[in-house]
Amino acid sequence: MDTSPPPAGGNPAKPASGIVTGTQRHGDAVVVDCTGDIDALTAPQLIAAVAAAMEKRPRTVVVDLSRVAFLASAGLAALVELHRMAGEAIRFRIVAAGSATLRPLTMTGLTDELAVFPTSAQALAT
């Protein structure tokens, strides 16, 4: 299970069995955009990509799940783990728009625990 491929930017053309992440800087914030399905196979890729973005110690990290079509509990656990990694030093924000991501976040009560916003503009403005 520890054979997760390298994160972010590696192979943006790879669709089906992975997620594609892209990172953009906005001042002292970093937005990590995810596209694809987040399940037990791909959750390690999400952790790796966001952890890499956190290494530069931005003030805010936004994980944008707007283009994520499937979010399993392994992905929820990854978000909780990343939130823990962000600690006090980094503000950790999530963007979730569709029911594929909002439903599991809401049903497990994680919308109360994590800062979830409908758009990345709102996540960056707060």
Partner: protein, 151 residues
């Protein structure tokens, strides 16, 4: 990626696969189940709920059913019945036991998110543990239960 691509047996009313319990198989079967259910004309919201719940059950099998270093089987059944769509996920291992066997959601243990999603997303669900292994049974109505009257 997938070592042996054993085909999934599939008809308009039934989907079945039994194979070695791996994360890759769970991902593949999740996609096949989604397509099968969508093709069966099940409402889109139900297709999403069914896909996520079934995946969580399969992921639990992959993660918890068998001791590290061993692999047992993972079996997925989906059936269209007269009123309902029924999905079962079975293995012959033992999930990490929970303090309250009757209600595994309430124990607050390590990663209960998956079980919680199964119970919340399925119209009816039960987890049966016996000496043969663990079976998760989930059902949804085939048609939307929302009563939306025309304007």
């Amino acid at each position: 990626m997938c070592p042996k691509r054993r085909p999934t047996s599939r008809s308009a009313t039934r989907l079945h696969h039994r194979g070695a319990a791996t994360a890759a198989l769970a991902t593949r079967l999740r996609r096949e189940l989604h397509d099968w259910a969508a093709f069966a004309g099940i409402p889109a919201d139900t297709v999403d709920d069914l896909t996520l719940s079934s995946y969580e059950a399969m992921a639990n099998t992959v993660r918890h059913a068998y001791p590290a270093g061993t692999t047992g089987f993972l079996e997925l059944h989906a059936n269209l019945e007269r009123e309902d769509v029924v999905v079962t996920v079975a293995d012959n291992g033992r999930w990490a036991p929970t303090p309250d066997e009757r209600d595994p959601v309430s124990d607050g243990s390590y990663d209960c998110h998956g079980l919680r999603l199964i119970h919340d997303l399925a119209a009816h669900s039960e987890v049966v543990r016996d000496e043969r292994g663990t079976t998760v049974l989930m059902t949804w109505p085939r048609r939307s239960t929302d009563v939306t009257l025309p304007p």
